[in-house]
């Protein structure tokens, strides 16, 4: 299990159990995968990264998300270093354009790999599709939160977050609603 130093003490970082739909999305090559990082000033940077996988073996990194950085000194590369050093989080979002499903996982950068079996596996994977790639390293991200970002799910979640439920406010529409849909 990943462990990190926080405020002078060793803290265990147990990766959350990721849902099967999210795992399915990560394994589906047709699903877009976005990595959002921030720089040292908090400015966000969100890019498609298809070089990500969930570590599912029984080793020390089980449950982490591994992301292979292909470009040394790219914005994501730099932001990951800052995120690690500032103890902040990154977000990984999937979006399936076929069924419009979307999931988001937030996580903590834990370890930058440059060697070892997982690194070798990721190199092998990327070289099958991109033989000229010269990857910089692979970051392990410990997932700490997962959200179902499907529209209906988010609507329901917001509806229930405060009282009175949001749906009750829907009776007070602005006038354009009547113009668009007519009145009953």
């Amino acid at each position: 299990m990943p462990k990190v130093a926080r405020q002078g003490r060793i803290v265990e970082m147990d990766p959350i159990q990721l849902s099967e739909p999210f795992k399915g999305a990560m394994n589906n090559p047709d699903v877009a995968k976005l990595l959002t990082t921030t720089d040292e000033n908090g400015i966000p940077h969100c890019v498609c990264k298809h070089s990500m996988l969930i570590v599912e073996d029984d080793g020390a990194y089980h449950g982490c998300i591994a992301y292979l950085e292909l470009i040394e000194m790219s914005q994501s590369y730099k932001n990951m270093i800052w995120t690690f050093n500032l103890n902040k989080t990154v977000a990984i979002t999937t979006y399936n354009p076929v069924d419009l499903t979307s999931y988001q996982v937030k996580g903590v950068p834990y370890l930058y790999l440059m060697e070892g079996p997982l690194w070798q596996q990721m190199l092998k994977n990327v070289w099958e599709v991109l033989p000229m790639a010269e990857p910089a390293g692979a970051w392990l991200i410990v997932p700490t939160e997962e959200r179902d970002e499907n529209f209906s799910t988010r609507m329901k979640a917001e509806d229930e977050r405060f009282y009175p439920p949001h749906r009750e406010w829907l009776q007070f529409r602005d006038a354009s609603y009547a113009r668009r849909y007519g009145t009953k």
Partner: protein, 444 residues
């Protein structure tokens, strides 16, 4: 069993009061205070990189458990034929030491073992992990690089390959042609250097240590090492100088080794490796021969900037080459290898041993040197000063400069690198564990 060598009692209370900043005496701070001071004053420097320089600057110490565990874990890369001790006292032990380690973000740190009076950081082993500690606080988890596959193999002559080339961090093979520098023979060695002292120690300890390697062993090592996919990106060749006959013997030997490296690479189907001789700058026609043999670039250690300081700190270089010729040959090297492919390095901190007591003055002067080199198409390398037994600086009881010197230097250096747009990836975070310069440029 372990036993410490002689350590001069150079402690911060004895030396810090002599440092100044902006004309005022620099305050005496404990290790913890110094780190906190720099963290707060220089938030532009990531904590891992600041901690790295502090570890090299002050040193580290292993707990008995951590040291024994490291020794037993044979999958880790152990220190083999190192060119310098890097430790701040002479360590003689039957337990293996690491060359370097990494923090979790890839920042690589040279292991410089220090005696108790330096108040070093502590490497401990807790909950099946190695941690950097101090004052009962945990700073970072540390990760030791894995042993390259070639390390336990032997060449056809029976030489242990790890004695022909050692791995620094993960992606570099450091080939040391000679472990003897002729400047020591004349008493003209660079004043921060402990090479021959280190070599004598290794000879006493025995084992498979080789003072001088050979072409065939080098070829076999590189051929074997390159079988490991996705690992080695750079090969350095650097050892002692041999100024006799205007460095002709040194040049011939290095050229033969570069040819051996290139031959091994070509047998793997690539045109050449990223091979860099790091040595005294040779003549332009010789540089061209290196390039033709497959060298990708050339490394030159100035050690310190400024003629007067250089002549005092590097008397052998001054006698056998001279400042003006050194500069001329450096610029000639840029003409041969091209912009950015000649790496020039200082042992940053040496200017605080001779030349300056004021941190800002020393930084300003060294940055002027950096600017001159960048203006002329060189890229910047750099290590930081570690004072080791056997060096003149050690023998005169000197102590490494404050961490703040390195903070100011690295930030000024970054601005110059951005201004001139030249970045050297020979001394890079995955090859050189000596200084945060190599790490912080990852963020440019």
């Amino acid at each position: 069993m372990t036993f410490p060598g002689t350590a001069l009692k150079a402690v911060r209370e004895d030396t810090y009061n002599k440092w100044k900043l902006g004309g005022k005496p620099y305050p005496v701070m404990s290790r913890k205070q110094e780190y906190q001071h720099c963290r707060e004053k220089y938030p532009q420097i990531p904590k891992s990189m600041l901690l790295k320089d502090h570890c090299v600057n002050i040193g580290v110490k292993f707990t008995e458990t951590a040291w024994r565990t490291f020794d037993e874990r044979k999958e880790y890369k152990q220190r083999k034929g190192a060119i310098f001790q890097k430790d701040k006292y002479s360590v003689a032990s039957n337990l293996a030491l690491p060359v370097d380690f990494r923090f979790a973000d890839g920042t690589s740190v040279l292991v410089c073992v220090a005696p108790e009076e330096k108040d070093p950081y502590i490497i401990d082993y807790i909950d099946d992990r190695f941690w950097l500690m101090a004052d009962d606080e945990v700073y970072e988890e540390i990760h030791f690089p894995l042993k390259p596959k070639f390390y336990d193999k032997q060449t056809s002559k029976g030489t242990l390959m790890s004695q022909v080339g050692m791995c620094t961090n993960v992606r570099n093979i450091h080939i040391i042609p000679y472990h003897h520098c002729h400047y020591f023979t004349e008493g003209l060695q660079c004043r921060m250097c402990d090479m021959d002292h280190c070599t004598r120690m290794k000879l006493k300890l025995g084992g498979a240590f080789k003072i001088r390697i050979n072409e065939q062993d080098t070829y076999e090592l590189v051929y074997e090492a390159l079988k490991e996919e996705g690992r080695f990106k750079h090969i350095f060749l650097t050892g002692g100088s041999d100024p006799r006959a205007d460095f002709q013997e040194e040049f011939d030997f290095h050229l033969a080794l570069v040819n051996a490296v290139t031959r091994a690479a070509r047998e793997h189907g690539v045109e050449s490796c990223s091979t860099w001789p790091i040595m005294s700058p040779v003549r332009k026609d010789q540089m061209k021969q290196f390039q033709d043999a497959g060298a990708a670039g050339f490394g030159i250690f100035f050690e310190i900037w400024g003629k007067e300081k250089w002549e005092i700190m590097c008397p052998g270089k001054a006698k056998h080459v001279g400042w003006e010729e050194w500069i001329k040959r450096t610029l000639d090297a840029v003409e041969v290898f091209g912009k950015g492919n000649v790496h020039c390095s200082f042992v940053a901190g040496t200017e605080m041993m001779y030349g300056y007591n004021d941190i800002q003055d020393a930084v300003t002067d060294t940055l002027a040197g950096c600017e001159f080199l960048l203006q002329n198409g060189c890229s910047l390398g750099d290590t930081i000063l570690t004072i080791e037994p056997g060096s003149e600086l050690y023998n005169t009881g000197q102590m490494e400069p404050p961490l703040e010197f390195y903070c100011k230097l690295v930030l000024g250096r970054n601005e110059l690198i951005k201004k001139y747009g030249i970045i050297g990836k020979m001394c890079w975070y995955d090859t050189m564990p000596y200084s945060m310069n190599a790490d912080i440029t990852r963020l440019l």
